[in-house]
């Protein structure tokens, strides 16, 4: 009898787990697999702005201040912003397997790699978007170089044109995201 109940329970779990996984398939990237790197890193930064904090931020940012108003509009529908960044004093402190923890998730359904820039000086910058139909449901930025590993994950609908506004705010590092209409000539002026 016991065996029958156990078997039934296992069967229920097996049926439910794929359903739960599918439901959990959102734009939140799990980064805890990288926590062990903190022991090797010279600097570790973790920013966690979950939905509660996003709502709180939307409440306290002023409508009178232009910058705050824009950030407020940008984060209004977001469900979270998460940043994890490691800086190392020497090369080779993280392995391809560490990056694979993140990339595996970004190969999941809905994710599309939008940008992949490799530069000797700046390392590799990858920008991924999670599409839900025609809307963008999330964004992930992966920046790696010899001595740095940074992941930024924005959960919820992202306005790409205004995304640069979030750089340097809310603990988000400068990612070098340029507004769409800004050209190289603008910088030279």
């Amino acid at each position: 009898m016991k065996l029958t109940i156990r078997t039934a329970l296992i069967a229920v779990v097996l049926i439910l787990v794929p359903g739960l996984s599918a439901k959990a398939q959102d734009s939140r990237i799990q980064m805890t697999g990288l926590d062990h790197l903190a022991a090797k890193a010279s600097q570790t930064v973790d920013v966690n702005l979950d939905e509660r904090l996003m709502r709180l931020a939307a409440r306290v940012f002023s409508d009178k201040d232009e910058d705050e108003r824009e950030v407020k509009q940008l984060i209004a529908n977001l469900k979270g912003i998460y940043v994890k960044s490691f800086e190392f004093d020497a090369d080779g402190q993280y392995t391809p397997a560490d990056i694979e923890i993140i990339r595996t998730q970004l190969r999941g359904p809905g994710w599309t790699r939008l940008v992949n820039v490799t530069s000797k000086k700046e390392g590799i910058l990858e920008v991924y978007l999670l599409f839900s139909g025609e809307t963008v449901g999330g964004l992930a930025v992966l920046h790696t170089d010899d001595r740095e590993l940074t992941i930024v994950n924005i959960v919820g609908p992202v306005n790409l044109d205004k995304l640069a506004k979030l750089e340097g705010q809310l603990g988000i590092p400068d990612l070098g995201i340029q507004p769409k209409n800004k050209t190289k000539n603008d910088d030279e002026k």
Binding site: A38, K40, Q43, T44, D46, R52, V60, E68
Partner: protein, 180 residues
């Protein structure tokens, strides 16, 4: 006999209110105790702090006129200081214990660990009606501070815009030297 029973109930109620209820949810003291237990250190008592010229409790919120921006709401500062003691320990283990202890009531905003100088900074937030409670924990090689303040929405916006910078200012404000 009935009177004795009544007295027992009254005494029990007094003890429950005096000892049990206030301790519940006092995360500031829990964090201080956690640091003491984890690193086997002791925080300084208020008389010692006063002797050292440190501002504590309500006086900590007073900032010299116009020189620095006042972040904490007056009288809202709780401060614990650990001075000249060794903070050797597994910081990853400490971080995970801290997050586990505060996760139910506080929201982790930013956590930084700097390995070369073994500096850890943790900033947690909590909604407190119209205002907000902020808990800033700074642990260095030989010193540590735990600061809890109440912030206005305006100052919380500053903290959210620049968590690291404003977090440092909150700690500096709480530990500013009276004799400066």
């Amino acid at each position: 006999m009935k009177a004795i029973a009544t007295w027992i109930v009254v005494i029990a109620m007094i003890f429950t209110t005096a000892n049990g209820a206030p301790a519940k949810g006092d995360d500031f003291n829990s964090v201080v105790r956690m640091i003491e237990q984890f690193y086997r250190v002791k925080h300084l008592g208020i008389p010692f702090l006063a002797k050292a010229g440190m501002k504590v409790a309500t006086t900590a919120a007073r900032i010299k006129g116009g020189q620095a921006r006042q972040l904490a709401e007056a009288g809202s500062i709780k401060l614990a200081v650990f001075e000249d003691q060794s903070f050797n320990g597994d910081f990853i283990k400490f971080r995970s214990s801290l997050n586990e202890a505060l996760n139910a009531t506080w929201m982790p905003l930013i956590q930084t660990i700097s390995a070369p100088n073994e500096e850890q900074v943790y900033i947690f937030l909590k909604d407190a009606g119209e205002k907000f409670n902020v808990l800033v924990i700074t642990i260095e090689q030989r010193d540590a501070t735990v600061v809890q303040v109440t912030l206005s929405p305006k100052n919380l916006a500053l903290l959210l815009k620049d968590p690291e910078g404003t977090g440092k200012s909150i700690t500096q404000e709480a530990t500013i030297n009276d004799q400066e």
